[in-house]
């Protein structure tokens, strides 16, 4: 667990340093102006420089403290299981905008809700499907009918509006 956590922390520190490098490089290409007439690049260059220094120090600290005690490490909660559910929920949030227009609101929401429900409770898929349909229909009625939110609609949504 400790080695895995070390790896995660090193990866995060390297990613932050990478972000700092890209940001600082881009900031240096902007016009910094003069001290009496600062340009659009002045503040980004200052932020980028500081960020680069801080993330570099952080990465060095993480590399030096691998498999040892590090400041703040005690505050990191030990991760429990269910990584699959985390990845699945994240994937569902990415997929939702991609299927929302073609499948329209109720079907797209049912698919996403079903995936999340099954990932969190794989034992009762039929119940999860029923619940997902219920969630999708209920959220359409609440947000579209009651709160006036414009949601993509197709035949199913029109039918629901006519029933409602």
């Amino acid at each position: 667990v400790s080695a895995k956590r070390d790896r995660q922390r090193t990866l995060a520190a390297a990613a932050l340093l990478g972000f700092a490098v890209v940001y600082f490089q881009s900031a240096l290409r902007l016009d910094r102006g003069t001290s009496s007439n600062p340009g659009p690049g002045l503040v980004p260059a200052a932020i980028g420089g500081l960020l680069l220094a801080c993330t570099a120090i952080h990465l060095i600290g993480v590399l030096r403290s691998r498999s040892g005690e590090v400041e703040g490490a005690a505050s990191i909660p030990p991760a429990a299981g269910n990584r699959r559910a985390v990845v699945g929920i994240l994937a569902a949030t990415v997929v939702f905008p991609l299927i929302l227009e073609p499948l329209k609101f109720v079907v797209a929401t049912t698919v996403v809700a079903f995936v999340m429900l099954v990932l969190l409770n794989p034992r009762r898929p039929a119940f999860s499907l029923g619940l997902a349909v219920g969630m999708a229909v209920a959220s359409f009625v609440i947000f579209s009918r009651l709160l006036g939110v414009a949601l993509p609609g197709g035949p199913v949504e029109h039918l629901l509006l006519r029933i409602g």
């Binding site: 932050l16 002045l42 503040v43 991760a79 947000f143 939110v149 949601l151």
Partner: protein, 511 residues
């Protein structure tokens, strides 16, 4: 005083209309529920509901959010006292003695003391908010860009010191937030920055998907990774058990007032003020108590003081937002986001230009506090039973509300992708021990700092000394620098001084 009374009276007339009463009640109930549920705090709830506030006016949105923030403080104490489960971070301290009181059969009394303490603190802090915000906004009208730069910079310095995590990590989060805030078209020159040819980034990152991703989706993902709570039998609290005995009142009431004043003052400072306020109040009550040995085994002052302090800190946190237009806590950044969604520009002028909004919100805070007192004590068993909703149903529901909330604002798929991306960023940062709250705060304060710096440099002819050495600005930098440096110096002195045998002062760890 007559003007204040008249404005407040007008605020009550508006706040007592059925629609605003409904928003206050809705906020109080939603807030109590989020306070009860571990994993979803007031910040997450406010971020998730941000998009839906577009269906109401700005005043309604402010009333709803105030209700959620106060309600969460009330709700958090319920599960802390009865089940030893802190519903949100500001209720952790209440677990220590609150749950011990429940084990001794005094859980009902602890709940009432927590609720009454919260009510007293809420009322005192709203009074403080009225007076201090009015006074401060009058002064702030005379501030120039150099002073606003000083407020922003010293606010961030204090945030680094007080946000709880390692200083370097907080600093990195603030710088990343400020870097993200520079993406988009530069307001002074019209030039694009860091858009890399992506047209949609021209307007910069929308606050809504960023806040909802980092506080809403990331909280859900973190909750998924934590083990499910196994609830045993939840003891029912009978109505007659809710009344504290006379000696309990005598010990609790002074603590409520002390906690209220302490909490309000801490609320004015950047950082997670409700959490800091509860710890500070606990330590203070223990120091001055005639029975310090009872702390940790069911001292009623240890429930009354911290519970009052966290509610009072909420009122204090509203002061910089209303008076200066600057959020000092992540929750206030979300409130500011709601104001901006409604086209309002927060700043010292807000109280004058939108006086009706300010006074209606103040009046609704009084009403919301009363609602919470009347709701929470008799309905305690109902709120506790919310914990029985299975997590595998609750979490997908929260994700769906977040997705619809973001989509409802611009009907934009890009916003939904940003929501997912910032959800991942927020989750990953928490996993490796970073607190993402300073990132979001810096994203909000960053543009103000940049504008103020560039304007003040232009005005001063490029002299940084002239910008820093203005009296008010210098005082603010000095206070921030002292707050930053003093703990290091004290730690160094403590290390350098040989410890006297057998003498040890109380530390936070002992709490």
């Amino acid at each position: 005083v007559a003007d204040i009374a008249q404005s407040l009276g007008a605020g009550f007339v508006t706040a007592l209309t059925p629609l605003y009463l409904y928003y206050a009640l809705l906020g109080a109930v939603l807030g109590t529920i989020t306070g009860v549920l571990p994993g979803l705090g007031p910040l997450g709830a406010m971020a998730i509901l941000l998009g839906f506030t577009l269906t109401m006016d700005a005043t309604g949105a402010m009333i709803l959010f105030a209700g959620i923030y106060y309600g969460a403080m009330y709700g958090g104490s319920t599960t802390s006292i009865l089940l030893n489960i802190p519903g949100e971070a500001a209720s952790v301290v209440t677990c220590i003695d609150g749950y011990k009181m429940t084990q001794r059969g005094r859980g009902g009394a602890a709940l009432t003391v927590a609720a009454v303490g919260s009510f007293i603190a809420g009322t005192i802090s709203i009074l403080g908010l009225m007076v201090v915000a009015l006074f401060l906004s009058d002064i702030a009208l005379r501030f120039g860009p150099a002073e606003f730069l000083a407020i922003g910079v010293s606010g961030l310095i204090l945030l680094v010191r007080l946000s709880g995590g390692p200083i370097l990590q907080s600093l990195i989060m603030i710088l990343v937030g400020m870097a993200l805030a520079t993406v988009g078209i530069d307001f002074l020159t019209g030039l694009e920055r860091f858009t890399y040819g992506i047209q949609e980034l021209g307007q910069g990152f929308e606050f809504l998907p960023v806040a909802m991703g980092i506080f809403g989706i990331a909280e859900v993902l973190t909750t998924v990774r934590t083990p499910q709570l196994l609830l045993g039998r939840i003891a029912r609290v009978r109505l007659r058990e809710l009344l504290p005995a006379r000696p309990e009142w005598q010990r609790a009431v002074p603590s409520m007032f002390r906690g209220s004043f302490l909490g309000f003052l801490i609320g004015l400072v950047p950082g997670p003020s409700p959490v800091i306020a509860t710890f500070a109040s606990y330590i203070f009550e223990k120091r001055i108590s005639k029975h310090p040995e009872e702390f940790g085994s069911g001292a009623i002052e240890a429930v009354a003081g911290p519970e009052a302090a966290n509610n009072a800190a909420v009122g204090g946190a509203y002061v910089p937002l209303f008076a200066l237009g600057i959020p000092f806590t992540p929750a206030m950044a979300v409130v500011l986001g709601a104001l901006m969604l409604h086209g309002l520009t927060p700043g010292p002028n807000l109280i004058k230009v939108k006086a009706d909004l300010f006074w209606t919100v103040i009046a609704s805070m009084y009403i919301g506090n009363l609602m919470l007192l009347l709701l929470n004590v008799p309905l305690v068993n109902v709120f506790v039973s919310i914990l029985r909703i299975p997590r595998h149903i609750l979490l997908p529901g929260i994700v769906l509300i977040s997705l619809i909330g973001v989509y409802s604002v611009n009907a934009s798929s890009l916003d939904l992708l940003l929501l997912a991306a910032f959800g991942l960023v927020g989750y990953a940062l928490r996993e490796v021990g970073f607190q993402p709250a300073p990132l979001v705060l810096a994203m909000v304060i960053g543009p103000m700092i940049e504008t103020s710096l560039r304007q003040s440099l232009s005005i001063s002819g490029g002299s940084l000394a002239a910008v820093i050495l203005r009296p008010i600005a210098l005082a603010m930098y000095a206070i921030a620098a002292l707050t930053f440096v003093v703990p290091f110096v004290l730690r160094w002195i403590r290390k350098a001084r040989p410890a006297a045998p057998g003498v040890a002062g109380p530390t936070v760890d002992e709490v």
